[in-house]
């Protein structure tokens, strides 16, 4: 079959050249995934590999008095039982973490949460290791523990005696060596004069909102395999950030980075869980101790003790003038970071930039605190704190509109940030389609027409929410691209395809620049020996940052093709097929053209005192959601009749994948909104399994779900694109809560919106609160 391919010979029949960006190309790795052949770390095996199982703390906060491993060590087949003492012999200072070097590979002296790794058993047979773990006995002297974020902010119970910032982030430096506090970051934003504005406001509203502890729950649990020897270590890992893992492991070992090699197969989901160090440091330490390759693969249950989303308390106060303009907003946010900071301080800071919402407000005050508590650590989860904040500010915004008897959409429209206006940080807002996403949602909900209120016990209602996010900056991505003597193209980039389709999108960008079909581009599996630096696959940053790096690499290659053509005497504008060009230059099928690209956007760090800056982000993401619900007022059950989401993702590079990113994000957050919650008793997660922690399944999908990317083009984006992985998560929760109030008049201020929570609120409304038994 004839195709118009001029470069390379690998094009699939029918593959089209040109117009690569904007194609709904199926995922490049689709075949591997539908045949069951795609490789994941959790199922990977190396010859001679041993398995490790982890013994975990049963105390939320305590001093380790003794660990008795003798019975475990005697189990036939046990290779070695390892505690922190053994780890310190090979890694003298075994603390890691992106913001604070606070997390030990295995607990040292103290344990800080129930589930913390205390010892590990290594055996050839994982069943044997698991059995031996049950025989380890640890004795603790229990210490007072703190679980609640507000208590942690004011309480004298301290999780860590001294704070140890990692040195990576300037705004944490002042916390170095600080004692007597659980505050791991205190971000402040001060704009205008909120107190004066509140005093002058016609109306002032104040509410407090809570979010619960929820889990990323990728279906592939955490897994790493380390293969160490004196000359270097190779780590196979389910990680979203191989470059970070490499740097951090090198630091722990005191080695240069080039002796640390991180290889990443496909990821069975990530959602922010598989960032920074997770199992990699433990696997490395164990491999050093037993001098064999060691695999640490967690069970689903163990994921609950590894990393979660931040629970939060959000106090928000808003002043509104007589015309319905918001004049001031004060936000106090407390992030429950658990026992180790992980990336919590970044979550607190980056989300703090937009805590006041997508509104044009002259007077803004934000205090955002990352707090240590004695719970499993919290990190980033698809939205980097934004969904928790939007839950608060969009519920609050709706409550204001209702109180002032203003149409919720009109009230929002009146206050939305417009092009050219300063956002709370001071950065002038450009290229964010706030009005468009809100308009599209309103239109799809038929907002102009009244909704029938329902019959009998079933009451219907609808609600909307709109939100903004500043993408994570400043961060670096590097990409390399080679063209072989036959013209075929290979891309080396560290972005991890964990299901979001980045490989396909990057190939489309290469294809667009080089004018070749995207499916002919090979993406090299992630391997830090081969693939260059990337800050991490997180925060919807990849398509923009890595997308630019890939574009630059491809453009450089394109320029080199032209130069080579000139060099071999081709006339200007020659369309010589690449294999011929190489042959002409090297005399045979030989040689390479290599392009490279590095991208790091500009950034001006916020002033530490005011949080203000004129360049906090290279682009803004935004979304709106709308929900139509039916509440069974006799039981509190809520049926989602329709769920509509519109996002601004710039120009979609792959419209089909964008659509699935939107619906996937919405469905994940539908779970966080309606039922997902980690139940915790005395620090112990009591529903640490999929039997008791339910996530959305097929029958939970709303009958009508509509998703849309509005017309948009980001001039500074690669071919007009913005990232989209998180965007659709923002507004789901408040849209549904707002719809519930519209339906039956009750307002919920804590997630999840379970039937019992709705029912209890209805009873309070009816002046007959439900009395608890026992």
């Amino acid at each position: 079959m004839a195709t118009s391919i001029t470069q390379g010979g690998q094009a699939a029949p029918g593959a089209k050249v040109g117009g690569q960006v904007g194609r709904s190309l199926p995922r490049l790795e689709a075949r591997a995934k539908v045949t069951g052949r795609a490789e994941y770390t959790h199922t990977m095996r190396l010859a001679g590999m041993l398995h490790a199982k982890i013994f975990r703390s049963t105390v939320a906060h305590g001093r380790i008095k003794s660990i008795d491993v003798s019975a475990a060590a005697k189990v036939p087949g046990v290779y070695r039982v390892v505690t922190a003492d053994d780890v310190r012999k090979v890694i003298p200072s075994p603390y890691y973490g992106p913001a604070f070097h606070d997390q030990p590979i295995l607990a040292i002296d103290k344990v800080h949460y129930v589930g913390e790794p205390v010892a590990a058993v290594v055996a050839a047979d994982p069943h044997v290791a698991e059995e031996a773990v049950q025989l380890i006995v640890a004795n603790y002297e229990e210490l007072p523990a703190v679980f609640d974020e507000i208590e942690a902010a004011h309480n004298k119970t301290l999780v860590h005696e001294e704070l140890k910032p990692a040195g990576t982030f300037a705004d944490l430096k002042h916390l170095k060596g600080r004692k007597g506090t659980n505050v791991a970051l205190d971000f402040k934003l001060r704009r205008g004069d909120v107190d004066k504005a509140f005093a002058e406001a016609a109306h002032v509203f104040e509410h407090t909102f809570h979010t619960q502890k929820v889990l990323h729950l990728p279906l592939e649990p955490f897994a790493s395999i380390a293969d160490w020897n004196e000359s270097g270590v190779t780590i196979y890992s389910a990680t979203q950030g191989p470059s970070f893992v490499r740097t951090e492991i090198a630091r722990l070992l005191g080695w240069p980075e080039n002796r640390v090699r991180i290889k990443v197969p496909y990821l069975g989901g990530g959602f922010g869980a598989k960032l920074y160090i997770k199992m990699e440091a433990l696997a490395t330490a164990l491999s050093m101790i037993v001098r064999r390759s060691v695999k640490v693969a967690l069970t689903m249950e163990e994921q609950f003790y590894t990393i979660t989303r931040h629970p939060s308390t959000f106090r928000i106060k808003t002043g509104v003038d007589a015309t319905g303009r918001i004049t001031a907003r004060k936000c106090e946010v407390y992030w429950n970071g658990g026992a180790y900071a992980d990336v919590g301080p970044r979550v607190a800071q980056k989300s703090g930039f937009t805590a006041s919402g997508p509104y044009d407000i002259d007077n803004v005050w934000v205090d955002s605190y990352a707090l240590y508590t004695n719970l499993p650590p919290a990190g980033a989860l698809r939205g980097f704190g934004i969904p928790q904040l939007v839950w608060g500010y969009e519920s609050h915004t709706d409550m204001i509109a209702r109180a002032l008897k203003l149409d919720p959409i009109e009230f929002r429209r009146k206050n939305l940030l417009r092009e050219g206006r300063p956002q709370a940080t001071g950065q002038i807002v450009r290229e964010v389609q706030l009005e468009a996403v809100l308009d599209r949602v309103a239109e799809r909900l038929n907002w102009g027409k009244p909704l029938p209120a329902g019959t009998g016990a079933l009451r219907r209602g609808r609600g909307v929410a709109v939100a903004i996010k500043a993408v994570i900056a400043p961060t670096t991505s590097v990409a390399n691209l080679t063209i072989a003597g036959d013209g075929s193209t290979t891309l080396y980039c560290g972005t991890i395809d964990m299901g979001q389709g980045s490989d396909t999108a990057m190939a489309q960008i290469v294809g667009e620049v080089l004018d070749i079909p995207a499916e002919t581009v090979r993406i090299v599996p992630r391997d830090t020996d081969v693939t260059p630096y990337d800050m991490g696959t997180l925060g919807s940053r990849s398509l923009y940052h890595m997308g630019h790096a890939v574009r630059l690499a491809a453009e450089e290659a394109r320029a080199k093709i032209k130069a080579m053509a000139r060099e071999v005497g081709e006339p200007e504008g020659s369309n010589i097929p690449l294999p011929d060009l190489f042959k002409k230059k090297f005399g045979m099928q030989a040689g390479n053209i290599v392009g490279t690209g590095t991208y790091k956007p500009d950034y001006v760090p916020p002033d530490p005192a005011t949080g203000l800056t004129d360049n906090v982000t290279p682009f803004w993401m935004c979304a709106a959601s709308g929900a139509e619900v039916e509440v069974d007022t006799e039981t509190g059950h809520v049926r989602i009749a329709r769920l509509v989401t519109a996002v601004d993702c710039g120009r979609p590079v792959n419209p089909k994948i964008v659509e699935t990113q939107i619906s996937g994000a919405v469905l994940m957050h539908l779970g966080f909104t309606m039922f997902e919650t980690m139940h915790i008793d005395a620090g112990q997660v009591t529903n640490a399994s999929l039997a008791d922690y339910k996530i959305p399944a097929m029958l939970d999908v709303p009958q009508v779900m509509e998703n849309e990317a509005v017309d948009s083009h980001l001039a500074s984006g690669p071919f007009g694109a913005k990232g989209v992985g998180e965007t659709a998560t923002f507004c789901v929760s408040p849209a549904i809560a707002n719809a519930i109030e519209d339906a039956c008049g009750v307002r919920l201020t804590s997630l999840p919106l379970t039937p019992e929570a709705v029912f209890r609120a209805l009873r309070v409304q009816a002046n007959a609160p439900l009395e608890d038994e026992e």
């Binding site: 539908v34 795609a38 990728p218 299901g499 996937g664 999908v701």
Partner: protein
């Protein structure tokens, strides 16, 4: 306590040395290098470990390997045509409908969909949702999976000329 089990695996007669406490997924992975069925929740709730035993879908993580002695076992690796490796209509439909993201749960959904269509060649939306309600996809590709099932039903009804 080691015992030998013999069974048909993806059409081939095989045997393996196992212990009574080994489950089917670990034996498929360890002895036969078949990684398509994979343990995730470990409780039969997610469907990532779906395997067909004597034509019925089971959760391989809750199934003692000893119980497949003499049985006929099929995994996702059997869906593509053995000789040509041509994809089955269900596999094709999943690709075309964009019915997966990370792919970890996909083998389970493919096997369950194949079963569904064997039983109900033209399932309605309600049948699809109920049949697949015990398979979890954290990426939330459910709407696309429903599309894929419908597309696969059409493909199976009107096979492409070879």
């Amino acid at each position: 306590m080691t015992r030998t089990i013999s069974f048909s695996l993806n059409g081939e007669q095989v045997s393996a040395e196992i212990k009574p406490h080994h489950n089917l997924v670990e034996v498929l992975q360890r002895e036969f290098n078949l990684m398509g069925a994979r343990e995730s929740c470990g409780q039969g709730m997610c469907g990532c470990c779906t395997v067909l035993v004597n034509g019925e879908a089971v959760s391989g993580c809750l199934y003692l390997a000893a119980f497949v002695d003499g049985a006929e076992v099929k995994t996702v690796e059997s869906l593509a045509e053995a000789r040509t490796q041509a994809l089955s209509p269900v596999q094709e439909a999943f690709i075309e409908a964009g019915a997966f993201q990370c792919g970890y749960c996909t083998p389970g959904f493919l096997l369950m969909t194949t079963q569904l269509l064997d039983r109900y060649p033209e399932p309605d939306e309600d049948q699809i949702r109920h049949y697949l309600s015990g398979n979890l996809c954290r990426c939330g590709a459910y709407p696309e999976i429903v599309d894929a099932v419908k597309l696969a039903a059409r493909k199976r009804k009107n096979p492409r000329p070879a």
